[in-house]
């Protein structure tokens, strides 16, 4: 099932430390993705974006001089873009829009706009019942999930650090990666880096960089006439679980499970049919919880699954092939770049990090404090 919708363009804006504005980076992302598709700004009649302003899609439409027939600015942290793919596929299938651009860009590193406390909203229950204790947001929540996970399953910080070690290995193959050229990362490097919120060190945490990207969607029918090999949207699913740090009873269980089940069922595929996985790696623990939720292994087995180089280049499980948020780029809402990398892998454009013969890719976004979860399944055939 797809409704016959494909991703026909994908691109990054400038990454790293740019000194550029959000709208400047958005313009790069959108115009590059359209050029990749062989389309023009005037072809766009649907916009989905977030992180621009309170009226994000409206702001971007205004900036581009467009009056779109369809927009979406759902705020769901890093998973918003996987949700946008679902909404866009439905809008295109329903005839409300023909060419949709999904984009994000941030200048958070240049602008020094990120706070360890997160964004405070005084009218929420969290402001009364959680913020007064001064948890790092979102870091302390993931740290508590990691602490619980390691305790319950008798695992070690060193085993968890492999997520970051493997991400660096992939980044060394990606010239766009922030850590490209930084050399390999060892388990000891991760364990010995600055402790932020135990058991997570700076090495367990994603980068804080500028960056972003865009993907262009249209009908599979129109996609046939465009510049690049279409990447078909085969399935999608999502779960929304919590804003509070106390809403989820078990910190080791992620809403990703339901999202992935829905997406795979819609695609008519099993997890074993997926060749490339691009999953949100805000923190090392995020990946462990997500791999289990996706059904790649049972509860408590993720750190065994990733051991022995299994998720490094050449390993058995092609995971976060760009280098991920940990070593490639993390502009705050990284989910759009999961889609960009999945598209490149399915087109065979990934250079030294190409997974040979990849036919199905899964992108999984996670937002907030394991709050929002969205999965997209993509394929080279409809």
């Amino acid at each position: 099932m797809s409704g016959g919708v494909a991703i026909v363009g994908a691109a990054e804006c400038d990454l790293g430390v740019t000194g550029a504005s959000i709208l400047g980076l958005q313009t790069q992302a959108v115009t590059r993705a359209l050029a990749d598709a062989g389309l023009k700004l005037s072809d766009v009649d649907g916009i989905a974006t977030t992180g621009v302003s309170r009226f994000s899609a409206t702001q971007l439409a205004d900036h581009f001089g467009l009056t779109p027939r369809w927009t979406d600015s759902t705020y769901a942290g890093g998973s918003a873009f996987e949700m946008f793919v679902a909404r866009a596929a439905q809008a295109i299938a329903a005839g409300q829009a023909e060419v949709v651009v999904i984009s994000f860009a941030s200048n958070q590193r240049s602008a020094k706009s990120r706070s360890l406390a997160g964004v405070l909203e005084n009218h929420t229950p969290e402001a009364q019942f959680e913020t007064p204790y001064a948890p790092l947001f979102p870091l302390s929540y993931y740290a508590m999930a990691a602490q619980r996970y390691l305790h319950v399953y008798g695992k070690t910080r060193a085993q968890l650090a492999e997520v970051a070690v493997a991400a660096r290995e992939w980044a060394l193959l990606n010239p766009k990666a922030f850590r490209y050229g930084a050399g390999p990362l060892s388990v000891d490097d991760v364990l010995g880096s600055t402790m932020i919120s135990s058991p997570l060190t700076a090495g367990d945490c994603c980068l804080v960089t500028d960056g972003g990207g865009a993907v262009v969607l249209t009908s599979a029918e129109r996609a046939r006439d465009l510049a690049k090999k279409p990447v078909h949207v085969l399935g999608y699913g999502e779960r929304t679980t919590n804003t509070s740090m106390t809403a989820v009873a078990d910190l080791t269980v992620s809403g990703a499970a339901g999202a992935a089940q829905d997406a795979l069922a819609r695609a008519g595929l099993g997890i074993g049919d997926i060749d490339v996985f691009e999953v949100y790696d805000s923190f090392t623990i995020t990946v462990a919880l997500t791999l289990e939720a996706l059904g790649l292994c049972g509860p408590g087995e993720a750190l065994d699954l990733i051991a022995d180089g299994n998720i490094r280049p050449g390993g058995g499980l092609a995971l976060n092939t760009s280098g991920g948020g940990l070593s490639y780029c993390h502009p705050g809402q990284y989910g759009v770049l999961l889609l960009v990398e999945a598209v490149r892998q399915l087109r065979g454009e990934a250079g030294d990090r190409q997974v040979p013969g990849a036919r199905h890719a899964l992108a999984h976004g996670t937002g907030g404090i394991l709050s929002t979860h969205a999965t997209v399944v993509l394929g080279v055939e409809p």
Partner: protein, 133 residues
């Protein structure tokens, strides 16, 4: 911990904060289905009733569900390290809180804890947790 700024209570949370003025920990419960929940809401998440929510006095005893020692403070006026935790009260609800009264490095998941209070300048108090014995 020193007294932090806490936003004012609203019509949903006022009963919870009022009890803290007497160092009483209360939990919102539903007289219709028996569920307990935190933070307070205008509706029971167990059964959907809006008219059956009451405040139940809690013993203030619980267990550490998980915790994290914060080594890098989000604000300059905070001294590190400090311990953020999820405490599961014996009645079943989870609270986000601080663990106090012991060195930051000695805590373990499943440690038994009991409530203690940090008084706020406006007369309310903020619950934190200390070792049970």
């Amino acid at each position: 911990m020193s007294a932090p700024d806490v936003p004012p209570a609203d019509e949903i949370t006022a009963g919870w904060w009022d009890a803290t003025r007497e160092h009483r920990l209360v939990v919102q419960g539903c007289e219709s289905c028996g569920a307990v929940q935190h933070p307070p809401r205008g509706v029971c998440t167990g059964c959907g009733e809006t008219g059956a929510l009451v405040w139940r006095d809690d013993t203030g005893a619980g267990v550490v569900d998980s915790f994290t020692v914060v080594h890098r403070a989000p604000r300059k006026d905070l001294a590190v390290p400090y311990v953020i935790a999820r405490v599961r009260l014996d009645c079943g609800v989870l609270l986000l809180t601080r663990l106090e009264g012991a060195d930051a490095q000695v805590w373990h998941i499943d440690d038994r804890v009991r409530v203690a209070w940090v008084d706020l300048p406006d007369g309310r108090a903020l619950p934190v947790f200390t070792p049970a014995d």
